[in-house]
């Protein structure tokens, strides 16, 4: 393997709170070695499918990086969240689903929608509050939906979707249609009471639902009380919580697309065979651009960064070198002779053009008429 891997010390900070609470996450006792200890894998898929995953990851990356300047220029207001750094989880995970499965997502939904095939131009239009938006401008960044892709409702309340996901799963079981539900949420969601209530229901009723917890706080500062995670949970590891409700749960490296693909495929298989809910915690190292209160882009992505990060500002360099799931995936593709550097650069050129056109479309999309505010209150 010729990929560069370094420890992410700069994203790792010790907090004495952990000692006061007598909680001893393993990561506190030893320096993080997560990113360097594992040989990343490619999903066991044909070349065309791998290139499709690569393209979807690039769509997400360039979508998000081009969103930040729109906010900074005042083209849209309100808070928003980037999916950068989690492409290696969402893209392979969502590729394991059937086209009629349900998905629920949170405030960090852009990547999930794009991974599933939502049109970038309509997602941009939604975030910009325009009439052509996915929700006609009624939802914005936090609430974008795409019912035809299985996204019925996206909640900005971190655990809001977890009980809802038991509901679509309950309906699918009653309707015997074989559909499963995937509930995508962050580690912070587990802090709300809705999460354990929903786990209990899902387990008791043996519902066909996959809880995919994307813990993007590996070594992150963020909301840390412990070095090992961004959330403030006494339950550690996080998988202890679903396990208490007898839901099979595993922790995986969310930066490893191959591992994610294998784990999700297996979990989905079990759910479809009636084994009830499954829980997967996919860990990623927080994108430096998401460490700040408002998103930033420390370094615009170019696939050439996979082999040379010397242009990246020093503060963010380690992340791009060893924790960026997109660059890891690209290095693996090339190392395994599944694609050439030129092929990948070609895909990226197409994606960049598509994103530029999507921005253009959204910026030129009209605002909804003010009276639209009173429409669609009731069905």
């Amino acid at each position: 393997m010729n990929c560069l891997r370094f420890e992410c010390h700069s994203y790792w900070a010790f907090s004495p709170v952990i000692e006061l609470l007598s909680i001893r996450p393993v990561d506190v006792d030893k320096p993080p070695s997560f990113a360097i200890s594992h040989n990343h894998m490619l999903p066991k898929l044909p070349r065309e499918a791998l290139l499709d995953l690569c393209r979807r990851m690039l769509v997400i990356r360039h979508f998000e990086e081009n969103l930040v300047p729109l906010h900074d220029r005042g083209v849209f207001g309100g808070h928003y969240h980037l999916y950068v750094g989690q492409e290696g989880t969402g893209v392979p995970a969502i590729s394991c689903l059937r086209s009629d499965d349900y998905l629920f997502t949170t405030h960090r939904n852009h990547g999930h929608l794009l991974a599933r095939g939502a049109e970038p131009k309509r997602l941009y239009a939604e975030i910009l509050g325009r009439a052509d938006g996915l929700n006609k401008g009624k939802g914005g960044s936090f609430h974008s939906v795409a019912p035809s892709l299985g996204f019925l409702h996206s909640s900005g309340v971190v655990a809001g979707i977890i009980p809802l996901s038991t509901g679509t799963a309950y309906a699918s079981k009653a309707q015997k249609n074989g559909r499963i539900t995937v509930c995508l949420f962050g580690d912070g969601s587990l802090e709300e009471g809705a999460a354990p209530e929903a786990f209990n229901l899902a387990s008791l009723l043996k519902l066909p639902v996959l809880f995919l917890c994307e813990n993007n706080g590996k070594y992150g500062a963020g909301r840390a009380v412990a070095a090992a995670q961004s959330s403030s949970m006494a339950a550690y590891p996080l998988t202890d919580l679903p396990k208490a409700y007898k839901i099979p749960a595993q922790q995986i490296d969310g930066m490893d697309a191959g591992l994610v693909h294998a784990a999700i495929l297996e979990a989905v298989e079990k759910i479809r065979h009636g084994e009830g809910p499954q829980f997967v915690e996919a860990q990623t190292v927080r994108y430096p651009g998401s460490e700040t209160n408002w998103p930033t882009v420390p370094q615009p992505t170019d696939t050439a960064l996979a082999w040379d990060v010397s242009s990246v500002p020093e503060k963010a360099r380690e992340w791009y070198e060893s924790c960026d799931p997109l660059l890891i995936f690209i290095r693996e593709l090339v190392a395994a002779n599944q694609a050439t550097k030129d092929e990948i650069a070609g895909i990226e050129r197409q994606v960049k053009a598509e994103i530029a056109a999507a921005v253009e479309f959204a910026v030129n999309s009209p605002y909804p008429k003010p009276e639209e505010a009173e429409r669609n209150l009731f069905a």
Partner: protein, 323 residues
Amino acid sequence: MRELAYYEAKFEALEEIMAADQRVHLINGTFLSLSPHRHVYQKLRSKYADRMISPPISELGFCGLATGAAMAGLRPIVDLSTGSFIYEAWPQVANEAANAFSMSGGQTKVPVVFHLFHGLRGGGAAQHSGSPQAMLWNCPGLEIAIPSSPRDVKGLLKTAVTSDNPTIFVDHTRLLDMRGEVPETDKPIPFGVADVKRPGGDVTLIATSYTVQVSLQAAAKLDKEGIDVEVVDPRTLVPFDLATIISSIEKTHRVVIADETHQSCGVAAEIAARIAESGFDKLKTRIRRVSTLDVPVPYSPPLEAYIGPSESRIIDAVRAAVA
């Protein structure tokens, strides 16, 4: 005409609903509270076990489950039992179910019914006597039905379950034993149509839920004093039939509103505001409210009786309106 007890009419509606639509699932409770009649619910359990669940005591969880199931095409009816328990489920009811259709730009329908028993029940104290319908009226996106008679509970429940919107079904345990006419041929009662429960010419007395029955008793007594009271029952708060109320006030020029929600920002407050905005010129005297006093509901019987919209308080308000 056929006469039924309120609980019988309600149960008949549930039986007909379950038989007519496979998509209806019943979640939690018995829809008859702890009344002695709750055993009739077993009849449904034996017939539709696969469409009924008794979840753990997780109002937030199972209201979310019902909301999600509604998004996926079922028509769940949730029994929260005691009205105050809906506060445990507030995020799912007020922040997810109520918002989903509008927030999705009119794409995601949520045909769920949240059923609850509100109000003063005798010894319920502060945590089991809540009337959350006023707070819920403040959440755009929810329909609110509030029956007061056997005929209405059957007709409104049947409409609630066919609605494509999240609906709060506000019931009252003190109604369960009352008897009234329920024609076998009755059709569902459309939302947004008020019912004049007693015609009269002197004062319009607007009341909801159990307070309609209290108001009818008050009207009978006032009749002996020569005061002819018209009792108007909105039957649904959302949608709200203001037209029927205004046309009654055009006749009487006087209005009293009696309701069990707390006075501040309560149901009576909102109705008073709408009348003031749309019918002020028709009034000969100020609007009077008879609401539950703004205190947590006390346990002791004389205290509980003192704070509610009792017959004597309603009579006093009507007398003042015609004085």
